[in-house]
Every structure is written in structure tokens, then in C-alpha cells.
């Protein structure tokens, strides 16, 4: 305890000295998110400095071992760090699929060379990663993937197409599921790391209904990949894939849903009050129900964290949180559109404020929440089968 308090004091002092004042203000939009990588353009010099300093300390990945560039902190120390960061309202230094998804599975499944090679670059935000999972014919049924990976003796040869690769056009490397055995399904999949600058890699952005293009189609044509880039054993990729999906589901729900405007504010502005309550009582009741669900969801994540700390196994909850989070965010966006009335019917132009356009675009973007990272249908299947023990035959 005394140690922890010392750590808190140290941390506070370091943050005071190293966190630039502009990094202690709320981010105005997704433009301010720092994704890192070789080609990343920082919105300003402070955000670059802030990433460099946090990365050097390993505090972008506080609990990863110091050997791999992490902070080497205990869970308790991490909690102190987070509370100190929150205290000064510090911005998140790095947004990264490497941190959220790839890193944890590398720690668990990769060999020493792979960890030494890739983890530090993730921590420092030097390499930006994308995820090569879905294919046109393999969405919910991910294990139906067909991207071929052949053993050519001194290298792997990869041919196929991925889809929904987030920011593939801006990524430096891709962690990718490939088929190394066509005679079996789940047991014929391997997990490889591919340098996106390799010859034969092409990306094409996909425009979404919201107008943004966070995803790409990615084509691999006779791409040569060094033998050492396979993580885990040959045909052992499915286990890694499932593990990684758990991390993804925990992180993705409600992701990219636009500015966090409050539906009550929107309703007050556009519907107005009458006798001190929202004039549209029907909408008001539905907003209240939504706000309650929002609170219940937040409480439940907190409860799961406490249970996890106490040693409980809460990994089975990931699918439930994914479904509930997606539903909640979609409900929020629908209510905002309804509350905004015709102020949410704009698409562009100066007659609408950026916030109003954000409501509309965010609402459209939110429709993907129940699809990306495992559809709601697939996750309900998982809850029914793994958590509730309901099976097809008995």
C-alpha cells in the first residue's frame, strides 16, 4: 500500500512534467485520435510528443512486460496510472489494434523472437496493424475462410481476398487468418503476420452508408511471407483467432459511433420542455428506459471487472457485452435521430451544424455495430451455447 502511494506520487509528478497541456483537453473529434504507424499524420505536434513519451515509458501498454517494451506494472499499479490519467483528463495517447487485439495474443501464443520483434513497436506506436479475418464468403462463418497459404519451403505463398480489414490502406502490417489445409475446416487455419508493403498486396477502401471508409478490401496475389511470420503452430490458428475475437468484442461495441452527444440535450433543444419535462412524453419515456439500460450496462462492466479481479472467469461474458453494447449504441443513435427531428435529415452543407451531421452519420455508422466483430446473431448463439449450455442435440 505504501508502495502504491509512492507510485502514485511518482506517476503524478511524471504526468505533470510530461503531459502537454493541450493533451489534457477533450478530443474534439475522431480526427484527434492517434493511430501511429509509419505513415501517420499527427493532428498536432503535442500529440506526437505525448505518444513518444508514453511509448518510451511503456505506458501505452502498462501491464505488458518491460522486456517487450511494456510498462511492467502490476494490475494495482495500472489502476493507479489510469486514475491519475483520468484526474488530469489526459487524452488516450494511442489507438491501436496492435495494443487491443494482436498484443495480448502475441504475449500468449508467439515465440520469443516474435514478441521481441513486434511488441515494442506496438507499444511505441511505430507499426500500425490491421486485421485480415473476414472474406466475402466468410463473414459470420469465419472458419469458412479460403485465403490460401502454401508452404514453398523457404517461405509461405499467400493468395486470396480479405474484406472489412479496418484501415488496411493505412496499416503497416496485417495479422491474418489463412487456410493451410483445405481438407478440414477449423483445423486447417493458421495465423500469420504480413508486411503490407510486400509485393502483391493491394487494398481498396469500402465506402460505407455513412459516407466514411474505415474498412478495405485487401487482395493478396502471390505474396511471399517469411516462414518465421507464422504465430503458433501450423493449422493452430483457429484457437488464436477465437481468443483474439474475445478481445475484439470487448473493445468494439459501440465503436466509431460519432461524437458522444447526449440524447437528452438534443431532445431539450429540438423538442423542448413543457411543465418542466420533455414535451414529447412518448419519446421521453423511451429515452428514460434507454438511459437506465445505459446505466445498467456500465454497472455490469464494472461488476465483471470486479469479478475478474477476484479471480472469477468472465471471459464468457464477452459475447454478451458485445450484443448489449451494440444494441445500446444503436438505440442511442436512433433516439438521437428521432429527438433531432428534421435537424437529423441533413447530409452536408452549411445549413446543418457539424454536430447535427454527426448525429446523422453516427446513426448510419452504428448500424454496423451489430455486424462487425461478430454479428449479434452469432454472439447470441455463443451465449446460448457456451454460457447457457443449450445445444442442438442431447
Amino acid at each position: 500500500m505504501a508502495d502504491l502511494e509512492a507510485f502514485r506520487a511518482e506517476t503524478r509528478a511524471w504526468l505533470e512534467a510530461n503531459c502537454p497541456p493541450s493533451m489534457r483537453t477533450p478530443m474534439a473529434s475522431e480526427e484527434d485520435w492517434v493511430w501511429g504507424g509509419r505513415t501517420f499524420k499527427f493532428a498536432n505536434a503535442d500529440s506526437k510528443l505525448w505518444l513518444e513519451r508514453m511509448g518510451a515509458k511503456g505506458w501505452t501498454a502498462p501491464t505488458w512486460p518491460k522486456d517487450y517494451g511494456g510498462g511492467g506494472l502490476s494490475k494495482a499499479e495500472e489502476a493507479v496510472l489510469q486514475s491519475e490519467l483520468k484526474r488530469i483528463q489526459a487524452r488516450q495517447a494511442l489507438f491501436s489494434f496492435g495494443l487491443w487485439m494482436l498484443g495480448p495474443v502475441l504475449l500468449e501464443y508467439a515465440n520469443e523472437e516474435q514478441k521481441k520483434e513486434h511488441l515494442p513497436k506496438i507499444v511505441r506506436g511505430e507499426i500500425r496493424w490491421c486485421q485480415g479475418y473476414s472474406e466475402p464468403g466468410a463473414g459470420s462463418d469465419l472458419a469458412g475462410l479460403q485465403t490460401k497459404c502454401e508452404d514453398k519451403g523457404d517461405h509461405w505463398l499467400i493468395n486470396g481476398q480479405k474484406v472489412w480489414t479496418s484501415y488496411a490502406d493505412q496499416a503497416d502490417w496485417c495479422f491474418c487468418l489463412v487456410r493451410t489445409d483445405t481438407s478440414v475446416k477449423h483445423e486447417g487455419i493458421s495465423f500469420v503476420l504480413i508486411d503490407m508493403t510486400s509485393k502483391g498486396v493491394e487494398t481498396r477502401p469500402i465506402k460505407l452508408i455513412s459516407g466514411s471508409s474505415p474498412f478495405c478490401e485487401t487482395f493478396f496475389t502471390d505474396v511471399k511471407v517469411p516462414k518465421e511470420n507464422m504465430v503458433g503452430r501450423l493449422n493452430g490458428g483457429w484457437e488464436i483467432a477465437k481468443r483474439l475475437l474475445q478481445y475484439e468484442r470487448t473493445n468494439i461495441s459501440g465503436f466509431g459511433s460519432g461524437a458522444r452527444l447526449d440524447v437528452v440535450d438534443i431532445a431539450k433543444n429540438n423538442v423542448g420542455l413543457e411543465d418542466g419535462v420533455l414535451a414529447d412524453r412518448d419519446l421521453r419515456a423511451r429515452i428514460a428506459a434507454h438511459k437506465m439500460t445505459e446505466r445498467a450496462y456500465a454497472l455490469t462492466t464494472q461488476r465483471a471487472q470486479e469479478e475478474a479481479k477476484a479471480g472469477g472467469n468472465v471471459s464468457h461474458m464477452a459475447s454478451m457485452f458485445k450484443v448489449a453494447g451494440a444494441t445500446l449504441n444503436q438505440e442511442r443513435c436512433e433516439l438521437m435521430v428521432e429527438a433531432a427531428g428534421n435537424r437529423a435529415f441533413g447530409w452536408a452543407g452549411k445549413n446543418y451544424t457539424p454536430e447535427e451531421l454527426g448525429v446523422t452519420r453516427g446513426w448510419l455508422r452504428s448500424k454496423g455495430n451489430s455486424i462487425e466483430g461478430g454479428t449479434t446473431e452469432v454472439n447470441l448463439n455463443v451465449v446460448a451455447k457456451r454460457v447457457l449450455g443449450l445445444r442442438d442435440t442431447q
Binding site: G346, W363, L380
Partner: protein, 358 residues
């Protein structure tokens, strides 16, 4: 009341379906959207007028077909299916109704033949804020001059003649009259609209006062409900086809019971909504007294059903439904605008309850 179509209505429906499939498929809407025309496709409107649609409810003596609202509703339903972008609702349904119901002989003679010929596009300027609440209009007429603000006038950016609701009645205002200023809105459904301001603009009153406002609005609501029914039906059918062909886990996804049950519920919703829309159109033709009830019923049900179906359209298509290259987004975007226009489901539930004294 009847749900049975007569011969003329059946022919009209078949012709509308053929026209929309051949002349105005969704690809035409996509092209208009890609070219950022914001709802403008005057050639399509000309073709529709040649089909006689602009004058379906205009009496024969004023150059129309006098075929009634059921006929026009069937056409609107078909245009809804393919998202055909035109001022058909604003002009053939709303503009024609306003003049037939409230026009003097002189006004009728002046405008109805032009409407029926598709030479004049009209638009209804009713809302004055973010939400539909015609009973709270602040628009005032001093003598024959009108002053005030109207928001989100559907087709207001392409209209020649504005039907303007005020605190005490309905006015005709020429779009190019002095004192009228437009701000064109680039809208999410790619159909366009306008905020319109009036400052001592020359205006001609229609007969009927505030009652006329509701009479016109109820026709707008019922016509829009017909368009929405078509959208929902088409979205449902495309989704049904996808469920029968898309395979995952070694079988067509339409074989998964959870999706089957959701599809069956959508089907039920659609059937129930269809009955409400047709009954409301029939009520107009019958000259029923409780049009307000029928209009709120049709608009509320169509809104709820289209809301559900447009969401499932995307969800059941998975990732592909989220892409701009697929049509699902078009239906989703048009759905929310249509839901809100002339009162959303919540507005009409409240009105329905009030009409029934609770």
C-alpha cells in the same frame, strides 16, 4: 369500405409497376445521387406526367383523370418500391388536393390543369421547427402578405408553387415571388428540401381555414404512407431473396430459425400495415368523416413497419448491407426522413388517442 380494386385501379397499378421497374429502378436513383442532383430528375417527372400520374386526383374538367386516391396510392406504393425520386407526392397528392379542396373556381382553373400536365411542381410548407406541429404555426398573413419561416419543405427546392400553412389557414405563394427566400438543404435521403423564409410575400388564401390544413396534411400522410409501404415491401422482398441464397455455416441463412421468426414477424407487420394504408386511401375516396383517424393509423403503422424492415434490411445482409455500393442504405435513409415527415409514429399515436378521447 372495400379492399377490392376496380379494373381501372388494377391497370394503373400494373402500369406503375412496369414503369418503375423499367424506367425508374433504383439504379436511376443511384445515378441521381452520385451526380449530387439532390432529388432533381426533371426528365423522370416529365415521364410520370406523360403517364398521367400528375393528374390522377384532378377532376376531368380540370384536365385530370379523376381516378381517385386509391389509384394514386397504388402508384405511390410502386414509386416507393424503387425509390423513384419525384415530386409526385408533393404535387399530385398534396398540391392537387389543396386546390381541389380549397381552391376558388379561379384558382382551380389557373392551377389544376398545369398540375395535371406536370407543368407545375408544388410543395407543402408546414413545419416551422425541428418537429412536426402544424397546430403551433406562427406564420401570419397581414392582408395578402405573408411573413414567417418554414423548415424542411420537402421538394421546396424545386417547387414552382408553395402551399403554405399558417396560423389561420392555407395560402398559395409563388416560389419566385418577391420576399420569398430559399435555402436548399442537402438531405440524407438524397431527395433534397428547403428552408423557406417569407417576408411580406404576396399570398393568396385558399378557402377552408385551419380545417383545410389538416385535410391537406391527412392526404399528405396517407400518400406518404403508401410510398413507405412500397419501400418496406421491396426491402422485405430483397431481404427474403438474400436469405434464400446467402450461405454461411454450410447452409442458406434463411434456414436459421431465429431469422425465420424475425422474417415471419416482418411479414405480419407488412400485411397489417398494407390493410391500414389501403383502407385509408379508400376512406379518402369514400369521403369518410374520420379521415384524421385513418391518416394517423396509416402513417404510424407505416412508420413503425418501415423502421423495423429498413433496419433488418441492413442487419440481415450483414457487412454488404453497410456498404454504399448496396441499396440497403438508400432505403434506410429515406425511411427515417419519411418517418418524420408530416408527423412520426409518436405524433400520430398521440393524435390517434386524442381523436378517441383519451
Amino acid at each position: 369500405m372495400t379492399f377490392t380494386l376496380n379494373e381501372e385501379q388494377r391497370l394503373l397499378k400494373d402500369a406503375a409497376r412496369d414503369f418503375c421497374r423499367e424506367q425508374a429502378p433504383v439504379t436511376r436513383f443511384r445515378k441521381m445521387r452520385d451526380e449530387k442532383k439532390n432529388g432533381r430528375d426533371p426528365e423522370l417527372w416529365r415521364e410520370m406526367a406523360q403517364m398521367g400520374w400528375a393528374g390522377i386526383v384532378v377532376p376531368e374538367e380540370h384536365g385530370g383523370a379523376g381516378l381517385g386516391y386509391v389509384g394514386l396510392g397504388l402508384v405511390l406504393e410502386e414509386t416507393g418500391r424503387t425509390l423513384a425520386a419525384s415530386p409526385l407526392l408533393s404535387t399530385a397528392m398534396i398540391g392537387a388536393s389543396a386546390l381541389v379542396l380549397g381552391g376558388s373556381d379561379k384558382q382551380k382553373t389557373e392551377w389544376l390543369p398545369k398540375i395535371a400536365a406536370g407543368e407545375v411542381v408544388t410543395a407543402l410548407a408546414v413545419d416551422e421547427g425541428a418537429h412536426h406541429s402544424p397546430e403551433k404555426s406562427k406564420l401570419k398573413a397581414g392582408g395578402a402578405k405573408l411573413s414567417g419561416q418554414k423548415t424542411y419543405v420537402a421538394d421546396g427546392h424545386i417547387a414552382d408553387l408553395l402551399i403554405v400553412s399558417g396560423a389561420d389557414g392555407v395560402y398559395l405563394v409563388k416560389a419566385d415571388a418577391t420576399g420569398v427566400t430559399h435555402a436548399e438543404l442537402v438531405t440524407v435521403d438524397s431527395r433534397g428540401a428547403a428552408d423557406i423564409a417569407f417576408e411580406n410575400a404576396e399570398a393568396e388564401p385558399l378557402n377552408g381555414g385551419t380545417k383545410l390544413i389538416e385535410a391537406i396534411l391527412d392526404r399528405a400522410r396517407i400518400g406518404l404512407a403508401a410510398e413507405m409501404l412500397g419501400q418496406a415491401q421491396e426491402a422485405f422482398e430483397i431481404t427474403g431473396e438474400y436469405l434464400k441464397t446467402r450461405k454461411q455455416f454450410g447452409q442458406v441463412i434463411g434456414g436459421f430459425q431465429a431469422l425465420q421468426h424475425r422474417a415471419a414477424k416482418m411479414f405480419t407487420d407488412l400485411e397489417l400495415t398494407r390493410s391500414c394504408v389501403y383502407a385509408a386511401l379508400d376512406a379518402l375516396d369514400r369521403g369518410a368523416e374520420d379521415i384524421a383517424t385513418w391518416a394517423s393509423l396509416a402513417k404510424a403503422r407505416a412508420s413503425d413497419t418501415l423502421h423495423l424492415v429498413s433496419n433488418e434490411f441492413v442487419q440481415m445482409h450483414g457487412g454488404i448491407g453497410m456498404t454504399d455500393a448496396h441499396d440497403a442504405g438508400f432505403y434506410l435513409k429515406r425511411a427515417r426522413v419519411a418517418e418524420g415527415l408530416y408527423g412520426g409514429a409518436g405524433y400520430h399515436r398521440d393524435r390517434f388517442a386524442r381523436l378517441h378521447d383519451y
